[in-house]
Amino acid sequence: MPEPAPELGAEFAGPDENGHFGPYGGVFVGETLVRAVAELAEAYASLSAKPEFWREFDVDLADYVGRPSPLYLAERLSEAWGGARIWLKREDLNHTGAHKVNNTIGQALLAKHMGKTRLIAETGAGQHGVASATVAARMGLECHVYMGAEDIVRQAPNVYRMKLLGARVIAVESGSRTLKDAMNEALRDWATHVDDTYYIIGTVAGPHPYPRMVRDFQSVIGREARRQFLERTGVLPDALVACVGGGSNAIGLFHPFLGDSDVAMYGVEAAGRGLDTPDHAAPLCAGRPGVLHGNRTYLMVDEHGQILDTHSVSAGLDYPGVGPEHAWLKDLERVRYVGATDRETLEAFHQLTRLEGIIPALESSHALAWAGRLAAKMKSGQNLLVNLSGRGDKDIEAVARLEGADFGTA
């Protein structure tokens, strides 16, 4: 029997009933959405108290998503980096190619129980859009995905995938034309179609109950990883590393380990062209608390309270906010938040591809880049677990473009 996770201390037990993690989180929405958000919180509280709901969820994760995802010891990568042994939690092998589907399966079940017939979603890299379009197709629901016009160019294969699945992809031309603007547009849609529409938020941000609910769905990653790791090695990993945009794959891995005080945790933000430049997407490393998209959290914001444009090589991390639980874990110093630059990320992308035959998503490559630096400082008997949150098929055109390589010639 694997060792059960220890009881969580009160500081990690959030959110409270109003969705607060310390000073973060909450419900900051326009009046039109207040009731919809409250109904969602009630529906989730009632369904998540029922074992049948989780049984339904687990069956879908097993038979449709293909869980549990493997825990893989990357021996050649460990050798190349020197130091700790590198283990990968293979969320890239999930149906649709990333961890995002864990959440859309859960929320689609909720939408079905609430009798909603129309799904909407925002997407950055397109992985959450694809995962939403996928569950919509499977359940015969209408699906509208909001995507920044700039991201549509960066992530063309995912756009086409969503269309094949029957979703309508709506290009968002306002603001910075990326993920944050897609989220604004989805909130506008929700306020307009509030009676029949279910908004599937793709990360652990937004108004309560989303940060908690998405965390609960994604925690399957950490629960599995903890069990698998103990079964394989008899010990817990020394450190966990995951990339953080909104932070859903990271919280999914971290949360079941929060009570394991000997397990160090690193959340890797997109440092873009460097944290000392304005061109990054690292609110926890270089931002300050404010209010955006329904919650109080760390933001990339100027001294007048305007949200700053972000930059990252990866569309999925190109977001000026972060989930409120991460903000709280930062203040508690339970998780250390660091950055990986575009250049370090691309190096790690190639390393994993060449050494292990696994093409990682650019988002996940941020985690790998930091893991490489960390591993080299660790001892050879130590273990480092990296969440390989997605696969890189969607990124190969972008990488070719960035590096000036010829795409499509031998």
């Binding site: 009046e31 603001g175 909130l187 506008r188 307009t192 955006l292 933001l299 949200i307």
Partner: protein, 276 residues
């Protein structure tokens, strides 16, 4: 003290509907907004709602979004909005000014500094779109301490028990959102507005002002018949969008943009109610 209650009392006495234009402060620059505010008052606006520009206006439709983008491109900040309000107040000691915006710029400035700034500028009311009562912290108390009205929204999705609670904390006027959607959307379900306003009437003596989707004489008359007045935003911001560059050099263009409010004023005043 806030000028809103005396203004509403005058209108009630004269049996005229309150007409409140909304415009984005600094769209496309503060000089133009100031000129427009004066014109709007001259053409019959009872109060003015000044929008605080914010980069992510997720409750607003495309017209106001573009207005906000123009204001931000022109360098508008919350400090600049307060300065604009102060300059208006220097010239007009009577017309209430209400600031309407999103929480983040206020949060980054700090509630204390914001409230003090409003008091210095002669601001009469504050409405924060994405700050439900439960998340308001000490902002309402700080505003109340300066005699500034706290205006909250009630929408078609607000449950009666919640409306009661909102009303308890609201002063000045109650802003009724006429539709499910964003600013500038089409007003389709007028019967439900009538029913909901009738329900709210039983709960409060506050003036009930209806906004969202009101864009001309016809919609203004229809909604004014149900409440105590109307707010016109997107339709006015659309006119501002069409202003020529350096609009302050073209007073006739500013007047033309503000004339939307003049037309609605005349329509409301001839709406069978007694005109003083």
């Amino acid at each position: 003290m806030s000028r809103i209650a005396p203004c509403a009392a005058r209108a009630r006495e004269q049996e005229r509907g309150l007409l409140i234009p909304y415009l984005v402060a600094g769209d496309p620059d503060f000089a133009t907004t100031l000129a427009l505010m004066r014109e709007l008052v001259a053409r019959g606006a009872d109060m003015i709602e000044l929008g605080i520009p914010f980069s992510d206006p997720s409750s607003d439709g495309p017209v106001i979004q573009r207005g906000v983008e123009r204001a931000l491109a022109g360098g508008a900040t919350l400090a600049g909005v307060l300065e604009l309000a102060r300059r208006f107040r220097d010239q007009d000691g009577r017309t209430p000014v209400i600031l309407m915006g999103y929480l983040n710029p206020i949060e980054i400035m700090g509630y204390g500094e914001f409230t003090a700034g409003c008091a210095r500028a002669g601001v009469d009311g504050v409405l924060v779109v994405d700050m439900p009562l439960a998340e308001a912290g000490d902002l309402p108390a700080l505003l109340a301490g300066q005699g500034i009205d706290r205006i909250f929204l009630v929408s078609p999705t607000t449950a009666p028990c919640r409306a009661r609670e909102i009303i308890e904390y609201t002063s000045g006027y109650l802003y009724y959102v006429s539709l499910k959607g964003v600013t500038g959307a089409a007003l389709e379900d007028r019967e439900s507005v009538a029913g909901n306003i009738a329900g709210l009437r039983k709960l409060t003596d506050l003036p009930i002002i209806i906004g969202f989707g009101i864009r001309d004489e016809e919609t203004a008359l229809a909604m004014n018949a149900l409440g105590d007045g109307v707010i016109i935003g997107s339709a006015l911001v659309e006119k501002i969008e069409a202003l020529p560059p350096e609009a302050t050099r073209h007073p006739e263009a500013i007047g033309e943009a503000a004339e939307l409010i003049g037309r609605v004023r005349r329509a409301l005043d001839h709406d069978g109610k007694r005109v003083s």
